[in-house]
């Protein structure tokens, strides 16, 4: 996967919230990986659903799309696809750089 930076422009009003928000998403990735290990599709679906619901509001539209994809894969109990999407989310979080504008 690419390691090129992804620049996201975020509303300056949210500046104080963003570090905690991104930290919570990194924790989500850890939880998602643990759920994948135990094949707990219900929890996978639930975490994917939450990420879908919250990402776009903060300006991270691709994060919402990946959350929706994880939710959908978990619903179909497709662990291979779910793992691929969790990896993409991890990669996205590594590359994302926030600019306040």
């Amino acid at each position: 996967m690419s390691d090129e930076k992804i620049i996201i422009q975020v509303d300056p009003d949210l500046e104080d919230l963003i570090p905690g928000f991104l930290e919570n998403r990194k924790l989500d990735v850890e939880k998602l990986r643990a759920e994948l290990e135990s094949n707990n599709f219900i929890n996978l679906q639930s975490i994917g659903h939450s990420i879908k619901g919250v990402g776009g509001g903060y300006g991270f539209d691709l994060m919402s799309e990946l959350g929706a994809a994880i939710e959908s894969a978990a619903k179909e109990q497709n662990s291979e696809l779910a793992r691929e999407k969790v990896d993409q989310l991890y990669n996205y979080l590594q590359r994302v750089v926030v600019e306040y504008a």
Binding site: L14, G20, N24, S50, K52, G53, V54, G56, G57
Partner: protein, 458 residues
């Protein structure tokens, strides 16, 4: 940032089990000067309601423990006018429609768009001080009394909200006028308002009238018929005299209100509907529930916002403006010179008991205007008109004729003007049936054009 002073003290309670959603919405709202409190669960929200007294509640739909719909029910038991915005990560239209009918002011899907969210909050912000909205609402309602003023304010607040309104009041007190005003003040105003008098339609035909029927559903049903719920789609339906609805049909109505879909008689298919329901009755439905004549679950489903219209005699301040309004209307309609009542005539009108309420007052005023030769209507003439029209109670013959006409109109609507089928349903031969139609000046052709089918249902 565009905000007016009335919004600056609006208190909002946000409920979501996701702390990042709470932080985001809180930041958006507080930067727009709203006051915000956040809760991580429905139960926590319930414990905060009495203490914080929010003007608006924003809640997630899917939460562990008490979900958004259960929270909405509990909040509206205490205060049916509290605006509630529901958020959901799943864009499911039936859920959204159901939430709207259960009294949600708005339904937004996640991820939430800031502009749409802020616009929605502004839209549902209580408009208690917005007199222009009240003026628009009351332009067709004549009143001066405190009793009616309270009802009008309540009705105007619930107008642009799909919550079920239940209007009670004696015959002739103006229930349909209020229902129509609610429709006109709502976002459904560009769609149809259909009033159905459940007591005037025979039991066997009422189901077909409301929900429609398939071709061949019963003898005489040779054409598929779209019911009034479907005809009123996106608009408002008033079920007047709901207390007269047979128990068997009450079950079907309840199902329609729960699922927001109708199943025509004889059909295996259901059709989604999006209709605002207003119900009305002159009966004491609580007593009917106690006697087992009206379903308790339907009663509570209909009575989310109750409006009880007082008798005319108990709102004396309304009599003079109503009398003047009806007099001016009569003069205008009949191209007469403008007339007025003498002061003692007005005092006399204001002191009468009016058992037939506003409708009786209107009849008396029309009679006064017809009989009067002069510009000023004297007390003697008013006394005569009141005496000649003591209650304007129908004779038995008039009541039978009104029922017969209502029956004929229903059966003609259902058969789309097919006289042979209508006669079959009515159990008459064609010749007899034609005679009846002639007697009431009912023209079968008027029912053959679909556009003419709805009209008024009495």
């Amino acid at each position: 940032m565009s905000i007016n002073n009335s919004e600056s003290s609006v208190k909002i309670l946000i409920v979501d089990d996701d702390v990042d959603v709470l932080n985001l919405l809180e930041t958006w709202l507080e930067n727009d000067i709203y006051k915000v409190k956040t809760c991580l669960s429905g139960l926590e929200a319930v414990s905060q309601i009495g203490i914080y007294a929010p003007d608006i509640v924003i809640t997630d739909l899917y939460m562990d423990g008490m979900d958004g719909m259960a929270l909405l029910n509990q909040l509206h038991e205490e205060n049916p006018l509290l605006p509630v915005i529901m958020l959901s990560g799943k864009a499911q239209i039936p859920e959204a429609i159901k939430a709207m009918h259960l009294g949600t002011s708005a339904f937004l899907t996640k991820p939430i768009n800031k502009a749409e969210f802020m616009e929605t909050v502004r839209r549902v912000t209580p408009k208690l001080t917005d007199k222009s909205i009240l003026n628009e609402f009351t332009k067709n309602i004549i009143y001066r009394s405190k009793e009616m003023s309270d009802i009008i304010e309540m009705a105007s607040l619930v107008a642009d909200n799909d919550v079920s309104v239940f209007i009670s009041g004696a015959t002739g007190s103006g229930k349909e006028v209020i229902a129509k005003a609610i429709h006109e003040a709502s976002s459904r105003r560009d769609h149809r308002f259909i009033a159905v008098n459940c007591g005037a339609i025979p039991e066997q035909l009422l189901e077909s009238e409301l929900f429609g029927h398939e071709k061949g559903a019963f003898t005489g049903a040779n054409v598929k018929h779209e019911g009034l719920f479907q005809a009123a789609n996106k608009g408002t339906i008033l079920l007047d005299e709901i207390g007269d609805m047979p128990l068997a049909l009450q079950v079907k109505l309840l199902r329609v209100l729960q699922d927001f879909e109708v199943r025509p008689v004889g059909s295996t298919k259901t059709y989604p509907i999006d209709v605002r329901l207003i119900s009305a009755t002159h009966k004491n439905l609580e007593k009917a529930v106690e006697k087992g004549e009206f379903r308790e679950d339907l009663y509570y489903r209909l009575k989310v916002v109750p409006l009880d219209i007082p008798n005319l005699a108990s709102r004396v301040d309304d009599i003079a403006p109503l009398a003047e309004h009806f007099l001016a209307k009569f003069s205008k309609n009949n191209k007469q010179q403008a007339k007025k009542f003498s002061p003692d005539a007005i005092n006399y009108l204001s002191s009468m008991p009016w058992p037939g309420n506003v409708r009786q007052l209107m009849n008396v005023i029309d009679l006064c205007a017809t009989l009067s030769k002069n510009k000023t209507i004297p007390l003697s003439l008013v006394k005569k008109a009141v005496h000649d029209d003591p209650i304007h109670m129908q004779t038995l013959r008039e009541a039978k004729q009104a029922f017969e006409k209502g029956y004929l109109l229903s059966v003609m609507r259902i058969t789309h003007g097919h006289v042979a089928n209508a006669a079959k349903i009515a159990g008459r031969n064609r010749t007899e049936f034609y005679k009846l139609l002639n007697q009431y000046n009912i023209e079968p052709a008027a029912f053959r054009d679909k556009k003419n089918v709805e009209k008024e249902v009495h």
